[in-house]
Symmetry: none
Subunit: 261 residues, 2 copies
Amino acid sequence: MAGTDSSGVAARGGGPVVVLIEPQLGENIGMVARAMLNCGLTRLRLVLPREPWPNAKAAAAASGADQVLDEARLYPSTTAAIADLSRVYATTARARDMTKRLLTPEQAAAEWRGRREAGTTDGILFGKEAKGLHNDDVALADAIIAVPLNPAFSSLNLAMAVLLVGYEWYRAATATPAGPPGAAGIITMPKETRPATKAELVGLFEHLEAELDACGFLRVKERRPIMVRNLRNMLGRAGLSEQEVRTLRGVIACLVTGPRR
Amino acid sequence: MAGTDSSGVAARGGGPVVVLIEPQLGENIGMVARAMLNCGLTRLRLVLPREPWPNAKAAAAASGADQVLDEARLYPSTTAAIADLSRVYATTARARDMTKRLLTPEQAAAEWRGRREAGTTDGILFGKEAKGLHNDDVALADAIIAVPLNPAFSSLNLAMAVLLVGYEWYRAATATPAGPPGAAGIITMPKETRPATKAELVGLFEHLEAELDACGFLRVKERRPIMVRNLRNMLGRAGLSEQEVRTLRGVIACLVTGPRR
């Protein structure tokens, strides 16, 4: 199924299968599908959903992630659903009396990334709304994934749990340690403009200072250098584009000219 | 409000305020409250929710995060909702034609962690379901947060967007030592001043716009909104202090008054 999707990411490496065990509400299954596709995950398996399948409420809640629902597979048991999987991870908020590797989503995602080249398929188990996984299902898993959240209020909506695990997978799969192209704090700029040159900036500064000399704002001689410096600092910090410099010069000219009475 | 909550994390450092702008469905507000508390965030502000408030559907969807809903505050406008905030972040999936810092949730969270000790409060703006934020709201923000997700299917459910930003905040807030001051776009400021509040900034904007209306700079009616937005963007990016806002208002007044002949 990987390779037939339109998400780009899944085609690159498959990504783990999401297995929902006894999901109660079609709406939640739809929201899971949407969250999965947000993260480039496309393979959904359902074990004994309570409502009939296919499900209209699921389709409505998927908000366009139809592909995920259309390709979802039904299974009569957890063991059947995971039969062809290589490694299985159980998500749980509660501590379990089991000796099992315990991972954060980030750690699990790092494992999946390391394993993609192997051509194997891993799976993540999510239990039913409110109740979570049976201990029997957890016992089938190779490792447990627990999301680090507010310990006083850690019960996640089903689709939210899928989203957080998927988010970490997406980041690991696309090797986005810190996100979008470019470094922290990159400034986005409309295409039709460019950053102002220093010469253009100084032109703006001098224009403003000449007018401030004229109106008397800089009349205290001893204060003038520091006031000029402060004004240049403020405007300099804004990271103005060439277009913006021209706009500000228009603003100054208009304020000085005053109303056209 | 931080300190009165039961989440533990919020008490430790406040955390950013979540501002929902014109949320359409009570149910979504409830899911946002749940996602917030999952991440230890407790301060929710609502700008013009479509349905009456308080809202029974919100309470049902909050699944126990009643505290967040009970303490939610209503505002008649975005500017009112952010008036007392220090730094404001706009979440958006679409690229905007604005010159603005662009951060991932992880990068934004690193900033918040670095700023917690300062005792200031930051806010995150989320637009209405399906439509997202108005450009006017984005223009008021200091930076944009974009979640790195499947580019072919990046439209997130409202509560999901809140969850991903909150998740990164929780991870940053509960992790050990903050990075060195000066990381990720932090602006150093002389001790005798403080960052301008949003109310002070809006006062500056409105002062400038009134004078530009008077002199005719904004006379082309169809162009006025975008020109206002561009000017607010430029000045907003400068990270002005309270002192600098007063200086710029003095500059405007002086330019308008003109030479003392």
